[in-house]
Symmetry: C2
Subunit: 382 residues, 2 copies
């Protein structure tokens, strides 16, 4: 009965709205047709304000990791010095991509749950002026840290270097106006706050990055961002695009436009605040202690007195709610609640209440109702 | 009324069966869940016989060009000697990918419409034993040529080199048992004979290729085929997979299994033979003159006495049937009829009859009914 009912409160893939699912069932069309060009133009017109850029946003068949590789393949040539700022598992992956691409890699690593310190980056770039590309994760999905990309990008620009931001689990959910903040490339995926199935990588390309890419073409044809940008000006794509997902994307972008980007971001902050208030009331430690560094899209909770994965099993099997576990060294020690995309306050009330029940069942000492009360209080005051 | 009614007789994307569309509307699930692992295992079990390999078939978020780049990124390192056998536009693209990847590129080019001559390849490899990778397009979608990959692969193996086959518009529609024919890597896309929307690249990885890749890892993490193969043995993928398309893929593979791969391929040959008989009866020149080199998935027709694109416009606007035009130097001079995937004999009868009507309207001198009669004769004798 409930096999297809599982509220996805993992940090991606996220639930797909029925409107988007329906849009994706459009009859297949040729990708060199006027119909597709119109579709792509409409998508592009809505994507630019979302990325906060006057540049192009490449729509690529691939997932978030593909978007990160696209960014690196264009700005990092073999032998280039690269600084990777890593605050978790996805920062490590970002660095791995650069390393495989032949970068001379330098790393600033932070404890999982701790945000990057912009001063360290400033110091590093001062002492290493051969490093011209900096990789930063906006929301580190493995820990729920939201890095201060605005300050970091300012520093990178001061050193006349380039910054690539992994916004896979942040874009739309968190503020990230790339032109205003001097960000060169921003990569995201469709299966997070955009509320689409996975399969689309989106890469925002600033004018400055495009200039650089044109001067020094990378080694990948599939991910050639200069080519994507050029073809976009003719409302087309260099290779066959994932047509159904692009139909879905237009619907998702329309829904975001209707709600208003600022309202969407306020909603994500509210969901975060409800969740954090509840977790605090339940006497469980938040992995990210300071609110200003807590992602609006994913909240991570430490489980010092029980096994996080056993808890997740109860939540999934008995209450049909999926939250994610910890990765690598945090496996079994934390759980991660995704609250991004097609998720509203009522979804979080349900999720938090179910978490209380599962905590009770696993034997964690709580008073039923205190977490949900705290969340409701945040909600009624919003 | 008819805006969404356009019989797609282009060589991809091809029509998506309603069963596949419905499968793709499955609720979103987590990609690290048992449900997804089961799905991927079922897909993989059905993909291997389709590729004719005991090796792995990587399921990658990307389109056909992404699959080609994945193959090259793993078998071609900067400085490697590569022979590109090009018989049209997609052969040129294949070569471009290798060039961008840093290959020392050699090219054997053939006139558009002419198949590659295996003897030339044998001679080339004899004289250039530093060349260890050969790129061949199975069905050249821009011309409708089906290259003799079986013989070419035998020659490549004799020279102890590696062969990568572009099977984007051939796999499933044309016979290509990769292990039996000694093919190292085969790349295809979802939007051709598999009858899915675009967005999936599939790469068949022979044991021999996998060995080579493990010894010499490439520069791409996203496309790292050794990693895909390793993760497949645990029924998972290295990065988030395009979940909805994988649901669609399972349905498509089930439909192919039910019809039987040999029957599917016989159907494609029948559609080709019907189309070629009709075109001959209509006194239009086939770009590929010899039947043995004519692709079972796409038929190309020259239009010496009228503009192919004006003809296509009539077909689309008045009869709601889309055929493709010529690419590059063949633009306006040919049209291309796709007959692959979710296409049956009745679809081709409709298409051929509509072509007659459009030919009449554009002023090409024909006797109405002679083409369709020839097609019907092929069909009743099948």
């Amino acid at each position: 009965m409930f096999s297809e009912k599982a509220a996805l409160r993992i940090p991606g893939p996220t639930p797909v709205p029925p409107e988007v699912t329906r849009a994706m069932t459009h009859s297949m069309i040729g990708h060199r047709s006027a119909d597709f060009s119109n579709l792509l133009k409409n998508v592009e017109d809505k994507l630019r304000p979302l990325f906060g850029t006057s540049g192009a946003v490449a729509v690529i068949a691939g997932t978030g990791t593909g978007g990160l590789e696209a960014a690196i393949a264009n700005l990092v040539l073999p032998g280039d010095g690269v600084l990777s700022v890593t605050t978790g598992n996805f920062g490590d992956r970002f660095a791995d991509i650069a390393k495989r691409a032949g970068a001379v890699l330098h790393t600033l690593s932070y404890d999982w749950g701790t945000p990057a310190n912009p001063d360290d980056i400033d110091r590093f770039l001062t002492e290493n002026d051969h490093v011209k590309v900096v990789l930063v994760t906006h929301c580190e999905t493995s820990t729920g840290v939201l890095n201060d990309v605005k300050t970091i990008a300012q520093i990178v620009r001061k050193h006349n270097a380039y910054i690539i931001v992994d916004a896979v689990s942040s874009l739309v959910g968190a503020k990230l106006p790339m032109d205003e903040w001097n960000i060169d490339l921003v990569a995201t995926g469709s299966q997070k706050a955009l509320a689409l199935p996975p399969g689309l990588a989106l890469v925002g390309i600033s004018e400055r990055a495009l200039q650089r890419i044109k001067e020094r073409p990378g080694r990948s044809l599939y991910f050639d961002l200069a080519r994507y940008a050029k073809d976009l000006s003719n409302n087309t794509t260099p290779w066959t695009p994932p047509v159904s997902l692009v139909y879905g994307l237009l619907e998702s972008l329309t829904m975001i436009e209707e709600e208003g980007l600022e309202n969407v971001q306020a909603r994500h902050l509210l969901l975060r605040d409800m969740t954090r208030a509840a977790i605090r009331a339940l006497n469980l430690p938040l992995l990210v202690t300071e609110d200003q560094y807590a992602s609006p899209t994913v909240t991570t909770v430490s489980t010092p007195d029980f096994d996080a994965d056993a808890f997740r099993k109860i939540l999934k099997n008995e209450l049909h709610i999926s939250v994610a576990g910890g990765q690598k060294q945090l496996s079994g020690k934390i759980f991660r609640i995704g609250h991004m995309g097609y998720v509203d306050a009522a979804d979080m009330l349900q999720c938090i209440s179910a978490i209380e029940v599962a905590l009770y069942k696993i034997g964690h000492k709580i008073e039923l109702g205190v977490g949900i009360k705290a969340a409701e209080e945040v909600l009624v005051r919003a």
